[in-house]
Symmetry: C2
Subunit: 467 residues, 2 copies
């Protein structure tokens, strides 16, 4: 008995894929992923049409999907994040049906409670046995955590595992077990290792980024959360890592032992755990090789599913216990609403990922961003897309000042008492406009090309067609 | 935010338990379990009635349930195994509604597909944090694997975690995550450590047991399955361990490297893995302290859920890939049907556990048992309860001879060629009767006190009331 079939085509046939079905993909192979393109090419070659693709994220490597959309092979798209290449095409209106944007937690939640149905999940597995036990930790295309793929495996009617590293049964150190899997396919390569993760992630050297990071760390310090048991999430970008560095320095100085860190995991966070600043890492996604080595070798570095990370449909999730999260933004408005879906011109080039999940869960949600980017002010009267509601954001940190959400008066007072440059958010907006000028109003009045769902599944905003 | 409540009573209230509901328990604390009794006492004290109890197993320690049944606090019972004390009371008819017996795989499968619904699962957790992340590997009442509790956590509408070892959030090395948990209660003790597991499990010294074990190992040897990649399950009893010892000797002599072993895990199987005879242990339940230490410390010793172990509702499970299983029996009939539910007088004193699951899955299912026990022959015309269908049993091994299922002609020829004492099963029956006499026919003609479901949920047999 074995679930192995000879090719992707045989797998597609074995699971009975037909026109109009929903298929899903995870994004742990990031910009090195071969699997989404490989499967869609095969499906197109078989003459199938009208598929709905639920991919946890779409990167620039997935550009071929544009042709599949134009040819009506793909007629629906659901994502948590979408890179600029495909995003621009969507903004220009190539897809008739609006894209559905969810958050990482929202996608898991919608799958878990049956609101987002998947007929066939195609799971890129860096390592698997012929019955479908799989892991992301081993093999030439190792990506570490398979966090986002758990919902796909557990909720899809049929599950196809695609691997380039088949091992004898039973796979040691299994992440997702065989009981969810229908078919296993071995292919030459599921991805380009050099693009799946970066070799190392580095702290920014940009003085503006460092200034923002320093101020953010001061907000953390004076928030009252930086004490034993402290939990923390930050991104993998250079400025986010700089926040981690400053936080580490404070933890060292004050002898603070944190509990967990989370998010896209990098070597920097791994080293903080190894030095004892955090007890454990809860890892839904690895961003570099050090993180992959750590999740493989260090028992305190735990793989978690997207459900455990952030699902609002679960009875609780890790973001509910998070103290502090550091987040980014392309736009923030004077009500503290954050846009991470579009650029300042309204073109899709991102998505929530875990943004609105962690903002909602964390006790302190800090947005860090330069006050001006590409000559455009960060802060606007109204964001072009509301990705994360302002009421879940506590602080905006720019290099020129810190705006505290008025709901958070105590924190504001603490930051003022600490002589931090606290400003009204309208003042920050004015400062940016003094330097960069008042930007020309961007209005998007075309038909709706994307619906942005909040993590609980309700419609939060829409994105409209460009020119 | 915390899910901690102050007492079992508060937990029962918090989850809204009412008359007529189904509550569930797992049996990893075995005869040392305090939790089932503690919860039922509280429920009885609160005046609740008419509860249906789905307990993966009932041991003698759970004798107080007899009073709860008599007082109609408990009016339904579903189990995979039931020890002799409660079994006798059931056989005598204390419960109006027939008990439902399932197998370990069948229970997980019925829960997973919604055929066995649970309103509230009470999970004894040797270690947990205040959000409900739990593990069996740590704490004063450590039991190792929590394999049977996964379905309860994942399928029950409400989940209460009861622990005597509360740790800071987030629990390191979590087995069952918080997303399934509603309420956490800390109590003084969830069990009597000395009865949860034995200190060590020992190989039998009984010459009859050793003879049977030796013959069983010879069957394994000549079956053709003892080669690289070999997988094996045996029980924790002294005779079963003796089979493991003989198998190990053969593996050593012939330089064979097995793949996995499974079942109730003992130090003996752990040592076989450590010596390299098996790559990995798939552990749904630990039987001794060495097994607990190993599942905690050795990454190749993997905890698996009952679903992954044996669920027929999953797309595959580990028993489907099992080569050889060694099983016990209280009775075998001439059609190779096996009884492990009742003694030879028809009193309930056991249950399938994983018996029928592994018999169905394994390529070679060997039953080992003494030809005569308590002066009664093992082999009868018709078992008092069909626990495992004869068509899934390959061989019966007794000290006086080996009976091969006629469906398995090639194996029979191989064993004869190896000069093993192969006999027709009727001949074995006659041999026993020559020694012990023909036993008085036992007939149970009372009303049905238990329905025995096969692993797929269909009714396989009934057990009737004794005098």
């Amino acid at each position: 008995m074995s679930k192995l079939v000879g090719s992707v085509r045989e797998a597609v046939q074995a699971v009975g894929l037909t026109d109009g079905m929903t298929i899903s993909f995870h994004h742990h192979l990031r910009n090195g992923d071969y699997v989404l393109n490989m499967v869609l090419a095969e499906i197109a070659g078989m003459g199938l049409k009208d598929l709905n693709v639920n991919a946890s994220s779409i990167f620039d490597v997935h550009e071929p999907i544009i042709e599949h959309i134009k040819k009506k092979v793909v007629t629906g798209l659901e994502v948590n994040y979408m890179g600029g290449k495909v995003g621009r095409a969507i903004s220009e209106g190539i897809l008739e049906k609006p894209v559905i944007f969810r958050s990482h937690g929202g996608r898991a939640g919608d799958m878990d409670r049956g609101a987002a149905k998947v007929d066939v999940a195609f799971i890129a597995a860096p390592c698997a046995d012929d019955m479908g036990n799989m892991s992301g930790k081993y093999g030439p295309s190792a990506c570490g955590s398979l966090g986002y793929a758990f919902s796909d495996a557990m909720c899809a009617k049929k599950v196809v595992v695609i691997t380039d590293h088949l091992v004898p049964y039973p796979l040691l150190d299994c992440s997702i077990p065989e009981g969810y899997v229908d078919v296993v396919v071995q292919v030459d390569k599921i991805g380009d290792a050099s693009r799946i993760v970066s070799g190392t992630t580095k702290i920014t050297r940009d003085p503006v980024g460092l200034r923002i990071a320093y101020l953010a760390s001061q907000v953390v310090k004076h928030s009252g959360y930086l004490k034993d048991g402290f939990s923390f999430q930050t991104g993998a970008g250079g400025a986010s890592l700089a926040v981690a560095k400053y936080v580490e320095e404070m933890m060292e100085k004050e002898g603070i032992k944190g509990s967990f860190c989370m998010g896209g995991i990098t070597g920097y966070l791994v080293s903080m755990m190894e030095k004892g600043y955090f007890e454990t890492i809860l890892d839904v996604q690895c961003f570099d090789l050090a993180a992959i080595a750590s999740i493989r070798d260090n028992k305190n570095h735990q793989e978690i599913s997207a459900t455990r990370y952030a699902s609002p449909a679960a009875k609780s999730c890790a973001v509910d216990s998070l103290d502090v999260v550091i987040l980014g933004a392309t736009q923030v408005d004077t009500d503290f609403n954050v846009n991470v879906h579009t650029d300042s011109n309204g073109y899709i080039m991102g998505g929530s990922g875990g943004h609105c999940d962690t903002a909602k869960g964390a006790k302190l949600a800090i947005v860090v961003a330069p006050l001006i980017r590409a000559r455009l002010p960060l802060i606007v009267d109204q964001v072009l897309c509301k990705s994360t509601p302002g009421e879940t954001i506590d602080v905006i940190v720019t290099q020129r000042g810190i705006a505290v959400n008025p709901k958070n008066q105590k924190l504001k007072e603490a930051l003022i008492a600490a002589h931090l440059p606290v400003k009204d958010i309208r003042e920050l907006k004015r400062m940016a406009e003094e330097i960069a000028g008042v930007p020309k109003a961007v209005t998007c009045t075309g038909r709706v090309v994307a619906n942005v769902l909040y993590r609980d599944g309700t419609l939060m905003d829409t994105i409209r067609k460009k020119a």
